[in-house]
Amino acid sequence: MSDEKEPILKIDDLSVHFHVRGKTLKAIHHVSMNLYEGEVLAIVGESGSGKSVLTKTFTGMLEENGEIAGGTIVYKGKHLEKLTKDKQWEGIRGKEIATIFQDPMTSLDPIRTIGSQIAEVVVKHQGKSKAEAKKIAIELMDRTGIPNAAARYNEYPFEYSGGMRQRIVIAVALACHPDILICDEPTTALDVTIQAQILDLIKDLQHEYGFTTIFITHDLGVVAAIADRIAVMYSGRIIEYGTCDEIFYDPRHPYTWSLLSSLPQLAQKGGELYSIPGTPPSLYKDIVGDAFAPRDPWAMKVDFKADPPFFKVSDTHYAKTWLLDPRAPKTEKPALIQNLHERMAATVAESHLENLDLTRTDAKEDETDGE
């Protein structure tokens, strides 16, 4: 995860624009990011923050009216931002970089059998014969937890439950042995118990197949369970990134603070739930200064004038906020999210679940909390 390691995917100063009825929507604004082999990088943000648009550029799946307005995407020495035709994307999209979407029915053909849809991918990308492909498809179905896979090979998507369909989408994605698996809200439409199973499945398969994962979600609970590193997005910008522990226990950007504060687990019973005032800015307009400034109770004058650079917190942790400038007044994160771990532990302990070991494994966080 350190910078010395060569990233598998390197995004540099990327901007994406959409042309909507004669106007330009700046969906991604000068984003730089590295993805390292074998890691799970979670991209967190609310709807419209650009998390899906960003990852769509990695597989050339931007909508017709979208374009990469600047910057580079380098994957294994190839400049993906220069690929324009579907033909050029062949061999990368689906094969090396695969995507799982939120709604499995958007990826599955409703009038073809489950098995044939997996086998098709195996034939196309691995050049196997039909008989071999069927065997591999059944193995994959088995591996992704479809009970009685051989018998269910000839069933149609409507005969599967939502969780089972998502397992099939995962099986299709894995049929090509991708290097990078992009999971775009893969569990949002699923029930909690099924969600837990799918998350476990993705983790297990990652161990087995060794792919690198980009996990897009707005659910901080899911992020905590799966991410090695987290990038927080707001209004088309990455505003903070760090390891999972750094973002949860030592967040530095006021937007990250607000996001964590909104967690219902932190609210006092009978009290108000913390809510971020206002709404995100329109991306049709040029944003001056820090995009979050109008909603930020800690905003300083400079936040309305100049776009903050990334300030280094640790080798792995950077945040794009003027609060980290040495000249800024010293600002503590809000009381609500101090001792986050202890608070969460308390809610879980109350829930009389299993015997959790609630002691911190990493005592360093306590010092950086500055209490």
């Binding site: 909690v192 901080l220 905590a224 967690l263 809510s275 109350e350 959790l356």
Partner: protein, 316 residues
């Protein structure tokens, strides 16, 4: 149930089925619970569990095949007079999950919010109506100049506010809120929940909150009923349910809720509930009040075991 509280809705042995004969499908059965005036009662379950079906039955959208639904002392399911139906339709309102699907795209916000007022003639004059709508708009945090706009001009959170305004302008006694925040972002969610709570404080409205997100349910509810495959398996006051869940399904459900804390999340294991663990062939299950206000669906053998465990923990 509790004697000091006034019951607003009472469900007795409710059964809801679809189709008939060979194709008959029983979606909900043996449902028994009361909702008290002024509380938030949550119905929690996974998709297909029947939670929405119960909500729709209370609204009179789904016909019931057995049992009774009593609202403010009157039976409201089965055959009821048009007049009674008319009254109930004002008193029980609904907030839907998807605000973009539940608002008329071709109507202005002014009309959407006023529609119920028109249907029931709940205003004295045009000025009175406009005044009522404006007040309501302000209550839900929208601006007067947005009155003549159309739903598509609003964000998801704003649309949900319109949905809330439309329901609450009728001054209902009961609001059935079916996953009202599932489609919203985290920060917007908080705004909408706070708004719902505000109306409850100020107007004493009762909520039947239908949801699958247990962390939100814990924050908003007074009592929670857990439903699976059409049956209520456990019912208890919120903190009691979270602290001392008794039914194995409730435990499995609670263990699957993601905890937004990396250290806990890494070590946490979720239970899988296996319905075949119950042996209901001869010893039939019932909905039993195992502790005051805490109900569990179990048979005699299980009841004895639960009581023994509770005694060991000093809870009984």
């Amino acid at each position: 149930m509790a004697n000091d509280k006034e019951t607003i809705v009472s469900l007795k042995d409710l059964e809801i089925s679809f189709g008939s004969g060979k194709n008959k499908f029983v979606a909900v059965q043996d449902v028994n619970f009361d909702i008290f005036k002024g509380e938030t009662f949550s119905l929690v379950g996974e998709s297909g569990s029947g939670k929405t079906t119960i909500g729709r039955a209370i609204l009179g959208i789904n016909p019931t095949s057995n049992g009774t639904i009593t609202f403010e002392g009157d039976q409201i399911n089965g055959k009821i007079s048009e007049k009674k139906k008319h009254t109930i339709e004002r008193k029980i309102q609904m907030i839907f999950q998807d605000p973009s699907a539940s608002l008329n795209d071709r109507a202005t916000v002014d009309y959407i919010i006023s529609e119920g007022l028109y249907n029931y003639g709940l205003f004295d004059s045009e000025e009175d109506r406009i005044q009522k709508v404006r007040t309501m708009l302000e209550e839900v945090g929208l601006l007067p100049e947005q009155l003549y706009r159309y739903p598509h001009e609003f964000s998801g959170g704003q649309r949900q506010r319109i949905g809330i305004a439309r329901a609450l302008i009728m001054q209902p006694d009961l609001v059935v809120a079916d996953e009202p925040i599932s489609a919203l972002d985290v920060s917007i969610r908080a705004q909408v929940l706070n708004l719902l709570k505000k109306f409850q404080r100020e107007q004493g409205v009762t909520y039947l909150f239908i949801a699958h997100d247990l962390s939100v349910v814990r924050f908003i509810s007074d009592r929670i009923a857990v439903i699976r495959a059409g049956r209520i398996l456990e019912l208890a006051p919120t903190e009691e349910l979270f602290t001392n869940p008794i039914h194995p399904y409730t435990e499995a459900l609670l263990s699957a809720v993601p905890v937004p804390d990396p250290q806990i999340a890494r070590t946490r294991k979720s239970y899988v509930y296996d319905p075949s663990m119950h042996h209901y062939e001869t010893d039939k299950p019932k909905f039993v009040e195992i502790k005051p206000g805490h109900f569990v669906y179990c048979n005699e053998e299980e009841e004895a075991r639960y009581i023994k465990e509770l005694k060991q923990q000093g809870q009984l």
